[in-house]
Protein backbone atom coordinates (compact mmCIF):
# COMPACT_ATOMS: atom_id res chain seq x y z
CA UNK A 1 0.00 0.00 0.00
CA UNK A 2 1.41 3.35 -0.98
CA UNK A 3 0.48 6.97 -0.49
CA UNK A 4 -1.72 6.88 -3.58
CA UNK A 5 -3.98 4.35 -1.92
CA UNK A 6 -4.64 6.73 0.90
CA UNK A 7 -5.19 9.95 -1.00
CA UNK A 8 -8.70 9.35 -2.39
CA UNK A 9 -9.92 8.94 1.16
CA UNK A 10 -7.96 11.84 2.55
CA UNK A 11 -8.70 14.32 -0.22
CA UNK A 12 -12.45 14.84 0.32
CA UNK A 13 -11.90 15.33 4.02
CA UNK A 14 -9.56 18.21 3.41
CA UNK A 15 -11.74 19.60 0.67
CA UNK A 16 -14.89 19.30 2.70
CA UNK A 17 -13.40 20.94 5.76
CA UNK A 18 -14.92 24.40 5.94
CA UNK A 19 -12.99 27.45 6.89
CA UNK A 20 -14.28 29.25 9.92
CA UNK A 21 -16.54 32.14 8.92
CA UNK A 22 -14.02 34.71 10.12
CA UNK A 23 -11.42 33.25 7.80
CA UNK A 24 -13.69 33.61 4.76
CA UNK A 25 -14.44 37.15 5.82
CA UNK A 26 -10.75 38.00 6.16
CA UNK A 27 -9.89 36.54 2.76
CA UNK A 28 -12.89 38.23 1.19
CA UNK A 29 -11.81 41.65 2.34
CA UNK A 30 -8.44 41.25 0.64
CA UNK A 31 -9.87 39.99 -2.64
CA UNK A 32 -9.98 43.00 -4.98
CA UNK A 33 -12.15 41.34 -7.64
CA UNK A 34 -14.71 40.26 -5.06
CA UNK A 35 -14.87 43.76 -3.56
CA UNK A 36 -15.25 45.50 -6.93
CA UNK A 37 -17.78 42.95 -8.22
CA UNK A 38 -19.73 42.86 -4.99
CA UNK A 39 -19.72 46.66 -4.72
CA UNK A 40 -20.98 47.11 -8.28
CA UNK A 41 -23.69 44.47 -7.92
CA UNK A 42 -24.83 46.05 -4.67
CA UNK A 43 -24.90 49.45 -6.34
CA UNK A 44 -26.95 48.20 -9.28
CA UNK A 45 -29.37 46.40 -6.95
CA UNK A 46 -29.80 49.65 -5.00
CA UNK A 47 -30.33 51.58 -8.25
CA UNK A 48 -32.99 49.08 -9.32
CA UNK A 49 -34.76 49.29 -5.97
CA UNK A 50 -34.57 53.06 -5.75
CA UNK A 51 -35.26 53.75 -9.46
CA UNK A 52 -38.45 55.77 -8.80
CA UNK A 53 -36.52 58.05 -6.44
CA UNK A 54 -33.41 58.39 -8.60
CA UNK A 55 -34.98 58.80 -12.05
CA UNK A 56 -35.39 62.44 -13.09
CA UNK A 57 -38.32 61.67 -15.42
CA UNK A 58 -41.05 59.12 -16.02
CA UNK A 59 -39.34 56.43 -18.18
CA UNK A 60 -42.54 55.95 -20.20
CA UNK A 61 -43.27 59.66 -20.82
CA UNK A 62 -42.87 60.53 -24.48
CA UNK A 63 -41.94 64.05 -25.57
CA UNK A 64 -41.90 64.18 -29.33
CA UNK A 65 -40.51 67.74 -29.33
CA UNK A 66 -37.36 66.49 -27.62
CA UNK A 67 -36.43 63.42 -29.64
CA UNK A 68 -32.86 62.10 -29.65
CA UNK A 69 -31.44 64.87 -27.52
CA UNK A 70 -27.71 64.35 -26.96
CA UNK A 71 -26.27 63.61 -23.53
CA UNK A 72 -24.74 66.55 -21.69
CA UNK A 73 -21.32 66.01 -23.23
CA UNK A 74 -22.79 66.16 -26.75
CA UNK A 75 -24.04 69.07 -28.84
CA UNK A 76 -27.24 70.57 -27.43
CA UNK A 77 -27.14 68.41 -24.32
CA UNK A 78 -28.52 69.80 -21.09
CA UNK A 79 -29.06 68.79 -17.47
CA UNK A 80 -32.76 68.36 -18.23
CA UNK A 81 -31.81 65.05 -19.86
CA UNK A 82 -28.30 64.15 -18.58
CA UNK A 83 -28.05 61.11 -20.88
CA UNK A 84 -30.24 62.49 -23.65
CA UNK A 85 -33.55 61.08 -24.93
CA UNK A 86 -34.50 58.25 -27.28
CA UNK A 87 -36.34 58.36 -30.60
CA UNK A 88 -39.63 58.94 -28.80
CA UNK A 89 -38.26 61.66 -26.55
CA UNK A 90 -38.15 59.48 -23.39
CA UNK A 91 -35.47 60.34 -20.86
CA UNK A 92 -32.58 57.90 -21.38
CA UNK A 93 -31.19 58.04 -17.85
CA UNK A 94 -34.59 57.17 -16.37
CA UNK A 95 -35.00 54.29 -18.80
CA UNK A 96 -31.54 52.96 -17.94
CA UNK A 97 -32.28 53.09 -14.22
CA UNK A 98 -35.59 51.28 -14.62
CA UNK A 99 -33.93 48.83 -17.04
CA UNK A 100 -31.72 47.60 -14.18
CA UNK A 101 -34.91 46.24 -12.60
CA UNK A 102 -35.75 44.15 -15.65
CA UNK A 103 -32.24 42.76 -16.02
CA UNK A 104 -31.90 41.84 -12.35
CA UNK A 105 -35.42 40.42 -12.18
CA UNK A 106 -34.76 38.18 -15.16
CA UNK A 107 -31.26 37.28 -13.98
CA UNK A 108 -32.35 36.28 -10.49
CA UNK A 109 -35.75 34.87 -11.49
CA UNK A 110 -34.50 32.63 -14.27
CA UNK A 111 -31.54 31.49 -12.16
CA UNK A 112 -33.77 30.64 -9.21
CA UNK A 113 -35.97 28.43 -11.41
CA UNK A 114 -32.95 26.88 -13.14
CA UNK A 115 -31.23 26.38 -9.78
CA UNK A 116 -34.15 24.43 -8.34
CA UNK A 117 -34.43 22.20 -11.41
CA UNK A 118 -30.71 21.66 -11.92
CA UNK A 119 -29.83 21.17 -8.26
CA UNK A 120 -32.61 18.66 -7.72
CA UNK A 121 -31.55 16.62 -10.72
CA UNK A 122 -27.83 16.89 -10.01
CA UNK A 123 -28.03 16.01 -6.31
CA UNK A 124 -30.35 13.05 -6.94
CA UNK A 125 -28.10 11.75 -9.73
CA UNK A 126 -24.96 12.20 -7.65
CA UNK A 127 -26.42 10.66 -4.51
CA UNK A 128 -28.17 7.63 -5.97
CA UNK A 129 -25.95 6.98 -8.98
CA UNK A 130 -26.85 3.96 -11.09
CA UNK A 131 -30.06 4.17 -13.06
CA UNK A 132 -31.11 7.60 -11.79
CA UNK A 133 -27.69 8.98 -12.70
CA UNK A 134 -28.04 7.45 -16.15
CA UNK A 135 -31.45 9.05 -16.72
CA UNK A 136 -30.35 12.47 -15.45
CA UNK A 137 -27.19 12.37 -17.54
CA UNK A 138 -29.29 11.54 -20.56
CA UNK A 139 -31.65 14.47 -19.93
CA UNK A 140 -28.68 16.80 -19.44
CA UNK A 141 -27.17 15.62 -22.73
CA UNK A 142 -30.47 16.18 -24.52
CA UNK A 143 -30.65 19.67 -23.07
CA UNK A 144 -27.05 20.41 -24.11
CA UNK A 145 -27.80 19.25 -27.64
CA UNK A 146 -30.63 21.76 -27.95
CA UNK A 147 -29.57 25.22 -29.07
CA UNK A 148 -30.99 27.25 -26.18
CA UNK A 149 -31.40 30.43 -28.18
CA UNK A 150 -33.42 28.70 -30.87
CA UNK A 151 -35.71 27.01 -28.34
CA UNK A 152 -36.22 30.29 -26.51
CA UNK A 153 -37.08 32.05 -29.77
CA UNK A 154 -39.62 29.38 -30.70
CA UNK A 155 -41.27 29.41 -27.27
CA UNK A 156 -41.47 33.18 -27.12
CA UNK A 157 -42.74 33.36 -30.71
CA UNK A 158 -45.48 30.83 -29.92
CA UNK A 159 -46.52 32.07 -26.47
CA UNK A 160 -45.78 35.74 -26.96
CA UNK A 161 -43.12 37.80 -25.27
CA UNK A 162 -43.57 39.10 -21.76
CA UNK A 163 -41.42 39.37 -18.68
CA UNK A 164 -42.92 36.22 -17.14
CA UNK A 165 -42.59 34.17 -20.28
CA UNK A 166 -38.95 35.17 -20.66
CA UNK A 167 -38.14 34.32 -17.04
CA UNK A 168 -39.78 30.89 -17.18
CA UNK A 169 -38.36 30.06 -20.59
CA UNK A 170 -34.83 30.93 -19.53
CA UNK A 171 -35.32 29.15 -16.22
CA UNK A 172 -36.19 25.95 -18.04
CA UNK A 173 -33.19 26.32 -20.35
CA UNK A 174 -30.17 27.26 -18.24
CA UNK A 175 -30.30 24.55 -15.54
CA UNK A 176 -27.74 22.29 -17.21
CA UNK A 177 -24.67 23.70 -15.47
CA UNK A 178 -26.40 23.41 -12.09
CA UNK A 179 -27.13 19.75 -12.77
CA UNK A 180 -23.59 18.94 -13.90
CA UNK A 181 -21.83 20.75 -11.07
CA UNK A 182 -24.19 19.56 -8.32
CA UNK A 183 -23.91 15.98 -9.55
CA UNK A 184 -20.12 16.11 -9.35
CA UNK A 185 -20.13 17.81 -5.96
CA UNK A 186 -22.57 15.26 -4.54
CA UNK A 187 -20.62 12.32 -5.95
CA UNK A 188 -17.59 13.58 -4.07
CA UNK A 189 -19.27 13.27 -0.70
CA UNK A 190 -21.79 10.48 -1.28
CA UNK A 191 -19.61 7.72 0.10
CA UNK A 192 -18.29 9.64 3.11
CA UNK A 193 -19.01 8.15 6.50
CA UNK A 194 -21.07 11.04 7.84
CA UNK A 195 -23.75 10.12 5.33
CA UNK A 196 -23.51 6.47 6.45
CA UNK A 197 -23.81 7.64 10.04
CA UNK A 198 -26.98 9.57 9.20
CA UNK A 199 -28.36 6.53 7.40
CA UNK A 200 -27.53 4.32 10.36
CA UNK A 201 -29.29 6.85 12.60
CA UNK A 202 -32.43 6.09 10.62
CA UNK A 203 -32.60 9.40 8.74
CA UNK A 204 -34.80 9.50 5.66
CA UNK A 205 -33.30 10.15 2.24
CA UNK A 206 -34.93 13.59 2.20
CA UNK A 207 -33.38 14.54 5.51
CA UNK A 208 -29.97 13.28 4.43
CA UNK A 209 -30.10 15.23 1.18
CA UNK A 210 -31.36 18.45 2.77
CA UNK A 211 -29.42 18.55 6.02
CA UNK A 212 -26.29 16.50 5.31
CA UNK A 213 -25.58 16.83 1.59
CA UNK A 214 -26.86 20.32 0.75
CA UNK A 215 -24.75 22.29 3.26
CA UNK A 216 -21.67 20.66 1.78
CA UNK A 217 -22.43 21.51 -1.85
CA UNK A 218 -23.74 25.03 -1.19
CA UNK A 219 -20.43 26.70 -2.09
CA UNK A 220 -20.45 25.25 -5.58
CA UNK A 221 -24.13 26.16 -5.93
CA UNK A 222 -23.48 29.83 -5.18
CA UNK A 223 -20.67 30.02 -7.71
CA UNK A 224 -22.75 28.42 -10.48
CA UNK A 225 -25.67 30.68 -9.62
CA UNK A 226 -23.65 33.87 -10.11
CA UNK A 227 -22.39 32.67 -13.48
CA UNK A 228 -25.91 31.73 -14.56
CA UNK A 229 -27.33 35.09 -13.50
CA UNK A 230 -24.92 36.81 -15.88
CA UNK A 231 -25.78 34.30 -18.58
CA UNK A 232 -29.53 34.83 -18.18
CA UNK A 233 -29.17 38.62 -18.29
CA UNK A 234 -27.29 38.43 -21.59
CA UNK A 235 -29.85 35.96 -22.89
CA UNK A 236 -32.68 38.36 -22.13
CA UNK A 237 -30.82 41.20 -23.84
CA UNK A 238 -30.36 39.06 -26.93
CA UNK A 239 -34.03 37.98 -26.99
CA UNK A 240 -35.22 41.54 -26.50
CA UNK A 241 -32.83 42.78 -29.19
CA UNK A 242 -34.43 40.30 -31.58
CA UNK A 243 -37.83 41.67 -30.58
CA UNK A 244 -38.95 38.43 -28.92
CA UNK A 245 -38.11 39.21 -25.32
CA UNK A 246 -39.53 41.90 -23.11
CA UNK A 247 -42.01 43.96 -25.11
CA UNK A 248 -42.01 47.77 -25.56
CA UNK A 249 -42.48 50.13 -23.87
CA UNK A 250 -40.86 48.27 -20.95
CA UNK A 251 -37.37 49.73 -20.47
CA UNK A 252 -35.10 46.72 -20.98
CA UNK A 253 -31.45 47.29 -21.86
CA UNK A 254 -31.55 44.78 -24.70
CA UNK A 255 -34.69 46.38 -26.07
CA UNK A 256 -33.08 49.84 -25.84
CA UNK A 257 -30.15 48.63 -27.95
CA UNK A 258 -32.61 47.15 -30.43
CA UNK A 259 -34.65 50.37 -30.64
CA UNK A 260 -31.52 52.47 -31.05
CA UNK A 261 -29.90 50.42 -33.78
CA UNK A 262 -31.25 52.55 -36.64
CA UNK A 263 -29.59 55.60 -35.10
CA UNK A 264 -26.30 53.99 -34.16
CA UNK A 265 -24.15 55.60 -36.87
CA UNK A 266 -25.04 59.20 -36.07
CA UNK A 267 -25.91 58.87 -32.39
CA UNK A 268 -23.77 56.01 -31.14
CA UNK A 269 -24.63 56.74 -27.50
CA UNK A 270 -28.15 55.31 -27.95
CA UNK A 271 -26.67 51.85 -28.06
CA UNK A 272 -23.40 52.55 -26.23
CA UNK A 273 -25.17 53.53 -22.99
CA UNK A 274 -27.37 50.44 -22.47
CA UNK A 275 -24.52 48.33 -23.84
CA UNK A 276 -22.17 49.73 -21.23
CA UNK A 277 -24.76 49.16 -18.50
CA UNK A 278 -25.08 45.49 -19.52
CA UNK A 279 -21.31 45.15 -19.70
CA UNK A 280 -20.82 46.57 -16.20
CA UNK A 281 -23.55 44.40 -14.65
CA UNK A 282 -22.34 41.16 -16.24
CA UNK A 283 -18.71 41.94 -15.43
CA UNK A 284 -19.63 42.74 -11.83
CA UNK A 285 -21.59 39.51 -11.39
CA UNK A 286 -18.76 37.46 -12.90
CA UNK A 287 -16.18 39.15 -10.67
CA UNK A 288 -18.40 38.44 -7.68
CA UNK A 289 -18.77 34.77 -8.64
CA UNK A 290 -15.04 34.32 -9.24
CA UNK A 291 -14.34 36.03 -5.95
CA UNK A 292 -16.72 33.80 -4.01
CA UNK A 293 -15.13 30.75 -5.60
CA UNK A 294 -11.62 31.92 -4.71
CA UNK A 295 -12.53 32.74 -1.14
CA UNK A 296 -14.43 29.54 -0.41
CA UNK A 297 -12.28 27.18 -2.49
CA UNK A 298 -9.60 24.95 -1.02
CA UNK A 299 -5.97 25.95 -0.72
CA UNK A 300 -3.88 26.03 -3.84
CA UNK A 301 -6.76 26.39 -6.26
CA UNK A 302 -6.91 30.18 -6.28
Amino acid sequence: MTATDISPQAAPAIEAAPRPASDIWRRGRRHTGLLIGGGLVLMIVLIALLAPLLAPHDPYLQDLNNRLVSPIWGEGGSWAHPLGTDALGRDYLSRLLYGARISLLIGFGATAIAGVIGTTMGVLAGYFGGRIDFIVSFIVNVRLALPAMLVALVVVALVGGSLNVVIWTLGFLVWDRFAVVMRAATQQIRSLDYLSAARAAGASVGRILLTEVMPNVLGALIVVATLEIAQAILFEAALSFLGLGVQPPTPSWGLMISEGKSHMFFRPWVIALPGAALFILVLAINLLGDGIRDVTATEGRT
Partner: protein, 272 residues
Protein backbone atom coordinates in the same frame (compact mmCIF):
# COMPACT_ATOMS: atom_id res chain seq x y z
CA UNK B 1 -31.47 -20.36 20.19
CA UNK B 2 -30.68 -19.06 23.63
CA UNK B 3 -31.78 -15.65 24.90
CA UNK B 4 -28.33 -14.26 25.40
CA UNK B 5 -27.66 -14.01 21.67
CA UNK B 6 -28.23 -10.38 20.67
CA UNK B 7 -27.34 -10.49 17.01
CA UNK B 8 -26.76 -13.36 14.72
CA UNK B 9 -25.95 -13.65 11.06
CA UNK B 10 -26.82 -16.68 9.00
CA UNK B 11 -24.80 -17.55 5.96
CA UNK B 12 -24.20 -13.96 4.81
CA UNK B 13 -22.98 -13.60 1.27
CA UNK B 14 -22.30 -10.36 -0.57
CA UNK B 15 -21.35 -10.27 -4.24
CA UNK B 16 -20.33 -7.17 -6.13
CA UNK B 17 -20.62 -6.92 -9.85
CA UNK B 18 -17.53 -5.23 -11.22
CA UNK B 19 -17.71 -3.83 -14.71
CA UNK B 20 -14.58 -4.61 -16.67
CA UNK B 21 -15.25 -1.83 -19.14
CA UNK B 22 -17.66 -1.06 -21.92
CA UNK B 23 -18.73 -4.12 -23.88
CA UNK B 24 -17.01 -6.59 -21.58
CA UNK B 25 -18.91 -8.91 -19.33
CA UNK B 26 -19.15 -7.79 -15.70
CA UNK B 27 -17.26 -9.96 -13.23
CA UNK B 28 -18.67 -10.98 -9.90
CA UNK B 29 -16.50 -10.47 -6.86
CA UNK B 30 -17.57 -12.03 -3.58
CA UNK B 31 -16.54 -9.89 -0.63
CA UNK B 32 -18.26 -12.03 1.97
CA UNK B 33 -18.83 -15.73 1.34
CA UNK B 34 -21.22 -17.41 3.68
CA UNK B 35 -20.37 -15.93 7.06
CA UNK B 36 -22.38 -16.92 10.13
CA UNK B 37 -21.85 -15.46 13.56
CA UNK B 38 -23.48 -14.94 16.94
CA UNK B 39 -22.90 -11.96 19.17
CA UNK B 40 -23.57 -12.63 22.86
CA UNK B 41 -25.29 -9.98 24.89
CA UNK B 42 -22.73 -7.94 26.81
CA UNK B 43 -19.83 -9.47 24.91
CA UNK B 44 -17.34 -7.99 22.52
CA UNK B 45 -16.90 -9.83 19.26
CA UNK B 46 -13.64 -8.92 17.58
CA UNK B 47 -13.45 -9.47 13.84
CA UNK B 48 -9.90 -9.50 12.49
CA UNK B 49 -8.31 -10.10 9.15
CA UNK B 50 -6.19 -8.29 6.64
CA UNK B 51 -7.40 -5.44 4.44
CA UNK B 52 -9.89 -6.57 1.85
CA UNK B 53 -11.00 -9.69 3.70
CA UNK B 54 -14.60 -8.48 3.90
CA UNK B 55 -14.68 -7.14 7.46
CA UNK B 56 -16.07 -3.74 6.56
CA UNK B 57 -18.60 -5.14 4.09
CA UNK B 58 -19.82 -7.46 6.81
CA UNK B 59 -20.06 -4.50 9.21
CA UNK B 60 -22.17 -2.57 6.72
CA UNK B 61 -24.52 -5.50 6.35
CA UNK B 62 -24.85 -5.87 10.13
CA UNK B 63 -25.67 -2.15 10.32
CA UNK B 64 -28.24 -2.43 7.56
CA UNK B 65 -26.29 0.01 5.36
CA UNK B 66 -25.75 -2.63 2.74
CA UNK B 67 -27.87 -5.57 1.73
CA UNK B 68 -26.57 -9.10 1.67
CA UNK B 69 -26.86 -10.96 -1.60
CA UNK B 70 -28.07 -13.92 0.39
CA UNK B 71 -28.38 -14.93 4.02
CA UNK B 72 -30.04 -13.03 6.83
CA UNK B 73 -29.25 -10.99 9.91
CA UNK B 74 -31.32 -11.59 13.03
CA UNK B 75 -31.56 -9.12 15.87
CA UNK B 76 -32.93 -10.72 19.04
CA UNK B 77 -34.32 -13.43 16.85
CA UNK B 78 -36.13 -11.02 14.52
CA UNK B 79 -35.04 -10.67 10.94
CA UNK B 80 -33.49 -7.29 10.17
CA UNK B 81 -34.67 -7.20 6.57
CA UNK B 82 -38.22 -6.40 7.63
CA UNK B 83 -37.18 -3.93 10.30
CA UNK B 84 -38.09 -0.30 9.90
CA UNK B 85 -35.03 1.98 9.65
CA UNK B 86 -35.88 3.90 12.82
CA UNK B 87 -36.35 0.73 14.85
CA UNK B 88 -33.06 -0.61 13.56
CA UNK B 89 -31.35 2.68 14.42
CA UNK B 90 -32.57 2.39 18.03
CA UNK B 91 -30.91 -1.02 18.39
CA UNK B 92 -27.71 -0.76 16.40
CA UNK B 93 -25.36 2.18 15.90
CA UNK B 94 -21.99 2.50 14.17
CA UNK B 95 -18.65 4.05 15.08
CA UNK B 96 -16.55 4.58 12.00
CA UNK B 97 -12.83 4.48 11.44
CA UNK B 98 -11.98 8.02 10.48
CA UNK B 99 -13.59 10.78 12.53
CA UNK B 100 -12.44 13.24 9.87
CA UNK B 101 -14.89 11.60 7.45
CA UNK B 102 -17.65 10.53 9.80
CA UNK B 103 -18.61 13.99 11.08
CA UNK B 104 -20.37 16.46 8.79
CA UNK B 105 -17.89 19.35 8.45
CA UNK B 106 -20.70 21.91 8.15
CA UNK B 107 -22.43 21.05 11.41
CA UNK B 108 -21.77 21.99 14.97
CA UNK B 109 -20.90 19.32 17.51
CA UNK B 110 -24.19 19.45 19.41
CA UNK B 111 -26.15 19.09 16.17
CA UNK B 112 -24.04 16.10 15.13
CA UNK B 113 -24.47 14.32 18.45
CA UNK B 114 -28.20 15.02 18.58
CA UNK B 115 -28.95 13.73 15.06
CA UNK B 116 -30.18 10.23 16.05
CA UNK B 117 -32.59 11.75 18.59
CA UNK B 118 -33.80 14.37 16.11
CA UNK B 119 -34.49 11.62 13.58
CA UNK B 120 -36.39 9.68 16.25
CA UNK B 121 -38.57 12.74 16.87
CA UNK B 122 -37.43 13.54 20.41
CA UNK B 123 -38.43 17.10 21.45
CA UNK B 124 -35.66 19.68 21.02
CA UNK B 125 -35.51 20.52 24.74
CA UNK B 126 -34.85 16.90 25.71
CA UNK B 127 -32.26 16.60 22.97
CA UNK B 128 -30.27 19.45 24.47
CA UNK B 129 -30.12 17.89 27.93
CA UNK B 130 -29.29 14.45 26.59
CA UNK B 131 -26.54 15.84 24.34
CA UNK B 132 -25.02 17.55 27.38
CA UNK B 133 -25.23 14.29 29.36
CA UNK B 134 -23.63 12.35 26.55
CA UNK B 135 -20.82 14.86 26.12
CA UNK B 136 -20.03 14.57 29.78
CA UNK B 137 -20.11 10.78 29.60
CA UNK B 138 -17.68 10.71 26.66
CA UNK B 139 -15.31 13.22 28.21
CA UNK B 140 -16.09 16.16 25.96
CA UNK B 141 -16.03 19.59 27.59
CA UNK B 142 -19.40 21.32 27.16
CA UNK B 143 -17.77 24.41 25.72
CA UNK B 144 -17.09 22.40 22.54
CA UNK B 145 -20.84 22.05 21.85
CA UNK B 146 -20.93 24.99 19.47
CA UNK B 147 -17.72 24.27 17.58
CA UNK B 148 -17.24 22.64 14.20
CA UNK B 149 -15.40 19.31 13.81
CA UNK B 150 -12.55 21.08 12.00
CA UNK B 151 -11.72 22.94 15.19
CA UNK B 152 -11.24 19.74 17.21
CA UNK B 153 -8.47 17.18 17.57
CA UNK B 154 -8.74 13.64 16.23
CA UNK B 155 -9.40 12.19 19.67
CA UNK B 156 -12.12 14.72 20.39
CA UNK B 157 -13.74 14.00 17.05
CA UNK B 158 -13.83 10.29 17.77
CA UNK B 159 -15.44 11.08 21.13
CA UNK B 160 -18.09 13.04 19.24
CA UNK B 161 -18.65 10.04 16.96
CA UNK B 162 -18.99 7.79 20.03
CA UNK B 163 -21.40 10.22 21.69
CA UNK B 164 -23.54 10.26 18.54
CA UNK B 165 -23.56 6.47 18.39
CA UNK B 166 -24.57 6.05 22.03
CA UNK B 167 -27.07 8.88 22.51
CA UNK B 168 -30.06 6.84 21.41
CA UNK B 169 -28.97 4.09 23.86
CA UNK B 170 -28.54 1.26 21.36
CA UNK B 171 -27.90 -2.28 22.59
CA UNK B 172 -25.28 -3.02 19.95
CA UNK B 173 -22.49 -0.83 18.62
CA UNK B 174 -20.55 -1.84 15.52
CA UNK B 175 -17.11 -0.27 15.68
CA UNK B 176 -15.30 -0.38 12.35
CA UNK B 177 -11.62 0.22 13.12
CA UNK B 178 -12.47 2.77 15.81
CA UNK B 179 -8.87 3.65 16.62
CA UNK B 180 -6.79 3.07 13.52
CA UNK B 181 -7.07 6.67 12.28
CA UNK B 182 -5.88 8.05 15.62
CA UNK B 183 -2.50 8.77 17.20
CA UNK B 184 -1.12 5.92 19.28
CA UNK B 185 -1.41 7.95 22.47
CA UNK B 186 -5.08 8.68 21.78
CA UNK B 187 -5.90 5.08 20.77
CA UNK B 188 -5.57 3.82 24.34
CA UNK B 189 -7.80 6.62 25.66
CA UNK B 190 -10.53 5.85 23.13
CA UNK B 191 -10.36 2.10 23.81
CA UNK B 192 -10.58 2.66 27.54
CA UNK B 193 -13.51 4.99 26.99
CA UNK B 194 -15.25 2.31 24.92
CA UNK B 195 -14.61 -0.25 27.69
CA UNK B 196 -15.92 2.08 30.42
CA UNK B 197 -19.03 2.93 28.42
CA UNK B 198 -19.71 -0.72 27.77
CA UNK B 199 -19.70 -1.51 31.47
CA UNK B 200 -21.67 1.60 32.37
CA UNK B 201 -24.37 1.28 29.72
CA UNK B 202 -24.38 -2.51 29.34
CA UNK B 203 -23.45 -2.39 25.66
CA UNK B 204 -22.49 -5.12 23.26
CA UNK B 205 -19.79 -4.44 20.69
CA UNK B 206 -18.80 -5.83 17.36
CA UNK B 207 -15.25 -4.60 17.01
CA UNK B 208 -13.65 -4.73 13.62
CA UNK B 209 -9.92 -4.25 13.51
CA UNK B 210 -6.75 -5.34 11.83
CA UNK B 211 -4.93 -4.51 15.02
CA UNK B 212 -4.66 -7.72 17.04
CA UNK B 213 -3.45 -5.92 20.14
CA UNK B 214 -6.64 -3.86 20.20
CA UNK B 215 -8.74 -6.97 19.80
CA UNK B 216 -6.87 -8.86 22.50
CA UNK B 217 -7.30 -5.86 24.79
CA UNK B 218 -11.10 -5.69 24.71
CA UNK B 219 -12.68 -8.55 22.79
CA UNK B 220 -14.24 -11.51 24.58
CA UNK B 221 -14.45 -13.57 21.40
CA UNK B 222 -12.50 -13.30 18.19
CA UNK B 223 -13.51 -14.20 14.68
CA UNK B 224 -10.73 -14.38 12.10
CA UNK B 225 -11.67 -13.71 8.49
CA UNK B 226 -9.78 -14.29 5.29
CA UNK B 227 -11.01 -13.89 1.71
CA UNK B 228 -14.56 -13.37 2.89
CA UNK B 229 -14.71 -16.56 4.94
CA UNK B 230 -14.51 -17.29 8.63
CA UNK B 231 -11.18 -18.93 9.44
CA UNK B 232 -11.94 -19.47 13.10
CA UNK B 233 -14.18 -18.13 15.86
CA UNK B 234 -13.17 -18.70 19.47
CA UNK B 235 -12.85 -17.02 22.88
CA UNK B 236 -10.03 -14.47 22.85
CA UNK B 237 -7.67 -15.99 25.38
CA UNK B 238 -7.91 -19.42 23.76
CA UNK B 239 -7.28 -18.05 20.29
CA UNK B 240 -4.25 -16.05 21.33
CA UNK B 241 -2.80 -18.93 23.32
CA UNK B 242 -3.36 -21.70 20.76
CA UNK B 243 -4.18 -20.41 17.28
CA UNK B 244 -6.27 -22.97 15.46
CA UNK B 245 -5.11 -22.32 11.95
CA UNK B 246 -2.04 -21.37 9.96
CA UNK B 247 -3.61 -18.09 8.93
CA UNK B 248 -4.29 -17.05 12.51
CA UNK B 249 -0.74 -18.05 13.41
CA UNK B 250 0.52 -15.82 10.61
CA UNK B 251 -1.56 -12.89 11.85
CA UNK B 252 -0.23 -13.37 15.36
CA UNK B 253 3.33 -13.61 14.10
CA UNK B 254 3.03 -10.28 12.39
CA UNK B 255 2.54 -8.41 15.66
CA UNK B 256 5.58 -6.22 16.06
CA UNK B 257 5.70 -5.68 19.80
CA UNK B 258 8.07 -7.81 21.84
CA UNK B 259 5.39 -8.34 24.47
CA UNK B 260 1.93 -8.81 22.97
CA UNK B 261 -0.77 -7.24 25.08
CA UNK B 262 1.45 -4.73 26.83
CA UNK B 263 1.15 -1.91 24.35
CA UNK B 264 -1.02 -0.85 21.46
CA UNK B 265 1.22 -0.91 18.42
CA UNK B 266 0.00 0.13 15.00
CA UNK B 267 0.36 -2.96 12.87
CA UNK B 268 0.35 -2.57 9.14
CA UNK B 269 -0.55 -6.14 8.38
CA UNK B 270 -1.10 -5.64 4.68
CA UNK B 271 2.38 -4.22 4.18
CA UNK B 272 3.86 -7.47 5.35
Amino acid sequence: MSDDILLSARNIRRDFRVSAGFGKRARTVSAVRGVSLDVKKGGVLGIVGESGCGKSTLAKILLGLDEATSGEVLFQGQTMAGMNRKTRARHIQPIFQDPYLSLNPRKRVDTIIGLPLRVAGVPERDIRTRVAEMMELTGLPLRLAGTFPSQMSGGQRQRVAIARALISRPELVVCDEPTSALDVSIQAQILNLLQDLRRELGLTYVLISHNLAVVEHIATEVMVMNHGEVVEHRPTAELFARPGSAYTQMLLDSILTPEPGKGLPEIALTDA
